[in-house]
């Protein structure tokens, strides 16, 4: 078995809106609710962020703003309150970094979500079966 590595998800997309417009959708709870979930937030460093999602097992995200650079960068901790059916990522255990870069009359938004639990299986679950084969071999040799 290889050492467990924290996982990171990275995404980026171009939005046909200026960075200051996109920024408001992270710092204004009414706007944040239109794309992510019902939000209570205090948009300053050290302020809390709580988002009740409307999808799947309806998990509640709880985090804290770590960095807010107006129209450029938003960093917050990310975790789920204990929710049946949601993966176990306790509040404070992972980090989301949002970077907004002006691109003509639009914005390139990049998300980096790091500190996620290592996945012993990849998306197909092949990693998990491999681990069990290794365990089975080890058991046979023992």
């Amino acid at each position: 078995m290889t050492a467990a590595q924290d996982r990171t998800i990275e995404r980026s997309l171009r939005i046909q809106a200026r960075p200051e417009t996109v920024w408001r959708f992270f710092t204004d709870p009414e706007r944040l609710a239109r794309w992510w979930g019902t939000a209570e937030l205090d948009a300053r460093e050290g302020g809390s962020l709580r988002v009740s999602m409307h999808e799947g097992p309806r998990p509640v995200m709880r985090g804290e703003f770590v960095e807010l650079v107006p129209h450029e960068r938003i960093v917050f901790t990310f975790g789920w309150e204990d929710t049946p059916g949601a993966p176990d990522i306790p509040p404070g255990s992972s980090l989301v970094e949002i970077t907004l870069t002006a691109d003509g009359d639009g914005t390139v938004l990049a998300v980096r979500h790091s500190g996620l639990p290592p996945s012993l299986g990849d998306e197909t679950g092949a990693g998990w079966s491999h681990l069990l084969d290794v365990l089975a071999d080890a058991a046979r040799r023992a």
């Binding site: 046909q16 809106a17 408001r24 992510w36 012993l120």
Partner: protein
């Protein structure tokens, strides 16, 4: 379960042996105990409880027997769940932010 719990559960050789035993079929607690020589039944039950608590084993009752089987999705869930969450959320963010931008006072068609 937490990943810490899962890794702690995997760190013990008896528990790894139990996982190998149940990976292809359901196995009764008694049969598992029979495969772990030199260990008391309560000690084996304790190992089983740790594996269930870590999300690596499922257990069900059949009469007075307890049957255990591997829960292979124990680890794989988290990343797929978040990938899906970010994809959906960012698509919606793009839509609502672009709509607001088009509606802002002074917005001109094709302005730079």
């Amino acid at each position: 379960m937490t990943v810490d719990e899962a890794l702690r559960a995997l760190a013990d050789p008896t528990r790894r042996a139990i996982l190998v035993l149940v990976r292809e079929r359901e196995v009764a607690a008694g049969e598992i105990a029979a495969h772990v020589p030199g260990m008391s039944r309560p000690a084996v039950s304790q190992h089983l409880r740790i594996l269930v608590g870590a999300g690596l084993l499922d257990v069900r009752r059949d009469g007075n027997r307890r049957l255990y089987r591997l829960r292979p999705e124990g680890f794989a869930d988290a990343a797929a769940f978040l990938d899906t969450m970010w994809s959906g959320a960012l698509d919606r963010l793009k839509q609502v932010a672009e709509r607001e931008e088009r509606a802002r006072p002074g917005a001109k068609e094709g302005s730079a």
